[in-house]
Each structure stands twice: as C-alpha cells, then as structure tokens.
C-alpha cells in the first residue's frame, strides 16, 4: 500500500481523509437491501438475485449496485429485459488501488431507461487479473467501451467478440489509467540517439 500511495503522490492529510471513509467498500452483508426501495430492486428480488448484491451506494441520486462477476450477465439481462433499461449510457473502469487490494478494479455499467427517464449503475468488483464476463451479448454497445477498459486497465473480458486495444497503439506496454502507471517518463519519439548526435 505504501508504494502505491507514494506513486499516487498522496500526502499525510489526503491519506487521513481517505482512510476515514471511502465507498462502503464491499462491507455490506449480502442480502441486506432492506429500507431501499427502487423499481429495479423489486425485479432483482423477483429473480432471487438480492443475495448477489454485495454493495449498494447512492451516487448523488443514482442507485448503484455492486455485484460479483458471476452474476453480472444475469443482472444486466434483467435490467434490460424486465426493467426497461434499454440504453447503455456508459461503461467504464475504475482502479481502486488506493482503497482496496482485494477489490482492485471496477467495471461500471451506467444504464438509462428512456421510458422512465431514470438511471441505475451496475458495477462489478474485480481482483487484479480476474476476468470479467462480457456484456456484449446483452448490450452490444459495450463492445467498444470494454475494449477501452481492456486497453486502459488491462481487465480481460471473457467471451468478448473483438478484444483488442482501441485507443493506445497495439504494441504499447502497460495500461495507462491504472493508478500505478507513471505520469510522464515516456521517451520522446525520435530522441533515442539525441546525445550521440549532439556530441558529434
């Protein structure tokens, strides 16, 4: 953890604030969604999936359900087919290196229902090197964003139709949006022999 904090450039006061509270960080007992009412939750209960919700958050008005990778497909399927979340608004990754080593990455699916004009977030908690099942079969719009997550965070998606880098060059080493990827330090192109040339 210390190494990661140094790389992140976090100092004393930042760390104190961060350690006090951050994202309930998967501390919820599975199945304790009592007191939370949302139309998606009743669909989740109907399908007997409430045990799989490992964390619930209210992200400034948007309910967010964290689930384990094995049930993500089932979750997205009921969101699309039974709760009319027909539009994939966005899909992106988060590196939680500074907060949790067991739960290093998150893949976040932000879903929108045109009929009800509301949003939910479904997210998957992943360990380092843990693959995530693709959602491309349910929301075809995730094909490119999942490629971006693979490119930027190195999360593998099993069953993905076309898992290649999308923004970075094919021969790039590393995953730039990981928190332990250094900022800067990249060699300037065509500068490998600049000293040699100058000394001539």
């Amino acid at each position: 953890m210390v190494d990661a904090d140094v790389r992140l450039g976090l100092s004393g006061s930042d760390l104190a604030i961060r350690n006090k509270t951050f994202h309930s960080a998967l501390t919820m007992t599975p199945g304790t969604l009592d007191g939370i009412s949302h139309r998606f939750l009743s669909v989740v209960n109907e399908h007997g999936l409430q045990e799989s919700v490992v964390d619930f958050q209210n992200c400034n008005g948007i309910p967010s359900f964290t689930v384990t990778p094995d049930v993500i497909e089932a979750f997205l399927r009921i969101a699309k087919e039974n709760s009319s979340y027909d539009l994939l608004s966005d899909c992106f990754g988060v590196d939680r290196l500074a907060f949790s080593t067991a739960h290093r990455f998150e893949v976040v699916y932000s879903l929108y229902s045109i009929q009800h004009s509301d949003r939910i977030i479904v997210r998957v908690a992943l360990a380092l090197d843990q693959p995530c099942p693709t959602a491309a079969g349910i929301y075809p719009a995730t094909v490119w964003p999942e490629r971006e997550i693979y490119d930027m965070f190195g999360v593998e998606f099993t069953g993905h139709p076309d898992l290649r880098r999308i923004l970075m060059p094919d021969d790039w080493v590393g995953h730039p949006l990981r928190k332990d990827f250094p900022l800067g330090g990249e060699e300037v192109e065509f500068s490998h022999n600049v000293r040699e040339q100058e000394s001539k």
């Binding site: 450039g9 976090l10 930042d14 604030i17 961060r18 006090k20 509270t21 951050f22 994202h23 958050q57 992200c59 400034n60 948007i62 967010s64 027909d86 539009l87 994939l88 608004s89 966005d90 992106f92 988060v94 590196d95 500074a98 907060f99 976040v108 932000s110 045109i114 004009s117 949003r119 929301y139 075809p140 719009a141 094909v143 490119w144 964003p145 880098r165 999308i166 923004l167 970075m168 060059p169 730039p176 949006l177 990827f181 900022l183």
Partner: protein
C-alpha cells in the same frame, strides 16, 4: 527479386490495411479489395482511419481504427485540482466547449453541494444553445462539403465565426473559454455583449432560410442522403447512439426534456424526431434543432436582460473566487483567493454524474472524489465514441461513396472519441 515477392514482403512489413490488398474467396468466387481511408482524410472529420473491404463499389466490411488523438485527458484530470481540471474539459470535444464545461461543473457542484444563482443558470442555457448552434453550423458546412455542396461551407463558417466573436467578447478567448465553472460563471457579461448576441439572433432566421433553400429541396442533396445509412430504433439503441442521431431514428429522447438541468424545464421548445433514421432525417433533425435552439436563445436573452447586476457566481468563497474589488479591501478575500487557486477545495467522498445534452448527444462526466483536492477518477462519456460504433452497421452493404455522407451525418468529433 520478382515483383510478386516484393509485394508479399511489403504486405508483411506494413500494418494490415495500409496497402491495397486483394483477396479471392475460392468458395464464392468473390474478389474483394481492402483499402485504407484516413487517418488524414478531409471527410473523416479529424484523424479517423477506416479499413474498408470492398466488393467492387460495395462495402463488405468496415473497421474503424481510433486513438490517433488520444491525449490522456482523463489521466491528466486526475492529477489536477478540481478548478484546474476544468480547462481540460474544453479540450476534449473541441466543438462543444461550453457544454463540456457545464457537464463537468454539474458533477462537481453535486459533490460540493453548492447552489448557484438564478442568473448563471440562465446564462448557462444561453451559452449552451449558442454553442449548439456553432457546432451544428460546423457540422452543416462540413457535411455539405463532403457530399459536394461547397458553398454552404463558406456561409456556415460565417455564422460560426459570429458565435466565436460572441465568446471572444465575453472572455477574450474564441473557443476554449472555460467560462462555465463549478459555482456559476467566471464573470458577468461585459457591456455590449447582449447587443452582439441580439444582432446575431436577428439575422439567424434568414440564414436558416438560406441554408434550407440551398439544401433541403436540392435534388442532388436528396439523392445523396435519402435512404442512405438507415438505422432502425433498435440498431441505434444497440450501438448506444444518443443525441440528434438517435432522435433521427425515431426515439424521442432529449435530456433537456427528460431530465432537465440548469432550468431547461422553464423554456418552451420542441424536440425534433425523425422517422426513417437515414442521413436525410439526421440532417432534418439537426436543422430543426437549430431553430429550436434559436427559440431557447430568445427566451434566455429575455430572462437574462431582466436580471441586470444579479450575481453569476456562488457566494461560497470555498468554491468560487471572490470578486476582484474585494481583494483590495478584505484580508479574508485574499486568503480565499490564494487557497482556491493553490490548494483548491476538498469535496467530500462520493461520486456524481454530470450530464448534459450536447450537440452530439449525451455528454456525461462521472467524477469520483476520495476527499482530496483532486478528482480520484474522471470519466468522460463522449457521445461520438458511441455514435461511431454504429458506422460499420450503417455502411456495410452500401456504396463506398456513401461512407463520407454517413460519417458526416453522425457528426463525430475525434477529440470527443479519443479524449
């Protein structure tokens, strides 16, 4: 070395698609040819590379290659304070700067829980609609230019330039103003600004008539656009399309109506919805949007002029700097000013989504705070990224000449795609 050897060696040393390759399928007897379009091609609207597999004039397969404009804006924003990260929002989708400012500001304002004054809400709407007009003007000009109607480009560029002058008058900067910031606006409008907007709006309906006259009934234009690049509502939703491109496919969804922000619920306007989802519908939807934006601008102008001298920035000195005049007399103001621009503010731990209806679709900023003065993660949802995903679906089976019409019709900005 024989010529054929040379060719085979070349095709292994160059990345696939750079060279013209010919394939023969012995089963079907079809001969296809792979050609490369872009990355530097005038009608790809930036640096987009398409690898097209052609059977004669027909596109068999289209593979977009993106990332040429990737500058790591999300990563850079994670390493700047909240106030400083704002300037990068101007630089990702460089044609909808003020809309990006607003989306980011809405997210940060939710995190720090600040209420902004009424007048800044009105001016945010006005600026966003002017931005939409400017962006659509650029789209109209380049889209028509791609299809071969050159003169439209010169006229739309004039109109866009008038809006850039409006922005310059306001801030001293023509495009990347960062004028909308967390806490309100950077400042009130200078004298003569409203007159300038007024004079732009006065001539705008006539200009719209001219554009309609040049294109809407032009037989060549109709021939090139009608029935081209059809997307059914299901296709559009599957690709994650948003904005005018989605509405052209018949899905009536506009964030300004469905989830109003900055007081859009107080304005009277309609949203244009297409019927067939072809290039012509996408053109018509955007043309109608221009007129509706004009209506919103008129209403916002009336509201803004009714509030002379009202504050445009929150009084919370932790979020927005104090007025310049106060710095000379108040020690407290000086401290606030110094703290804001050096350390910045620490929003409480949490996550917030700021989302606006940009010219190209749903522009969303997802900001995660860890309690420090820098965002832990900023995710920028570029609508063009999703819109471009629909391109292979649109152009496969169509003529290669129509590909430029389809690219123009989804109005992509590569800065928005690659970020």
């Amino acid at each position: 070395m024989q010529n054929s050897d040379l060719m085979s060696e070349r095709s292994t040393t160059f990345p696939a698609g750079i060279e013209v390759e010919r394939q023969h399928d012995p089963d079907t007897g079809a001969d296809t040819m792979t050609i490369n379009m872009g990355p530097s091609h005038p009608s790809t609207h930036g640096v987009l590379r398409l690898v097209l597999e052609l059977d004669g004039e027909n596109v068999v397969r289209c593979t977009p290659h993106i990332g040429y404009l990737h500058t790591g804006i999300e990563k850079t924003m994670e390493n700047l304070s909240y106030y400083k990260a704002l300037v990068l929002t101007d630089r990702e989708d460089y044609l909808s700067n003020l809309c990006n400012n607003l989306a980011y500001s809405l997210a940060v304002e939710q995190l720090v829980d600040v209420v902004i004054p009424e007048k800044s809400q009105v001016l945010r709407v006005l600026l966003n609609e002017l931005e939409r007009i400017a962006s659509h003007m650029l789209w109209l000009g380049t889209h028509a230019l791609d299809i071969g109607a050159m003169s439209v480009f010169f006229y739309t560029w004039q109109d866009r330039d008038l809006i850039l002058e409006i922005k310059e008058h306001m801030s001293g900067v023509r495009t990347k103003t960062s004028w909308i910031c967390p806490g309100g606006l950077r400042g009130d409008m200078p004298s003569g600004w409203y007159e300038r907007v007024e004079s732009f709006l006065n001539q705008f309906p006539k200009r719209m008539e001219m554009y309609e006259g040049l294109l809407s009934n032009n037989p060549i234009w109709l021939e090139r656009t009608r029935g081209v690049g059809v997307l059914t509502p299901q296709d559009a939703l599957d690709a994650g399309l948003t904005g005018p491109s989605l509405r052209a496919s018949g899905v009536a969804w506009d964030l300004r109506k469905s989830n109003p922000y900055s007081g859009y619920e107080q304005y009277e306007f309609d949203i244009a919805v297409g019927q067939y989802g072809d290039v012509l519908d996408r053109y018509r939807v955007r043309m109608e949007e221009l007129r509706q934006s004009y209506e919103i601008c008129r209403q916002a102008m009336k509201r803004a002029l009714a509030m002379p001298g009202a504050p445009v920035r929150t009084n919370d000195r932790k979020i927005a700097p104090p007025p310049k005049a106060e710095l000379d007399t108040s020690m407290e103001a000086l401290i606030h000013h110094f703290k804001l621009f050096t350390e910045g503010y620490h929003p409480p731990v949490g996550e917030a989504l700021g989302v606006v209806e940009g010219p190209r679709g749903e522009k969303a900023y997802y900001v995660i705070s860890d309690g420090s003065n820098r965002p832990y993660r900023v995710r920028i949802k570029g609508p063009s990224f999703y819109n471009l995903q629909a391109l292979p679906k649109m152009c496969e089976g169509r003529l290669v000449a129509d590909v430029v019409a389809m690219i123009g019709s989804i109005d992509i900005v590569l800065g928005d795609i690659d970020r």
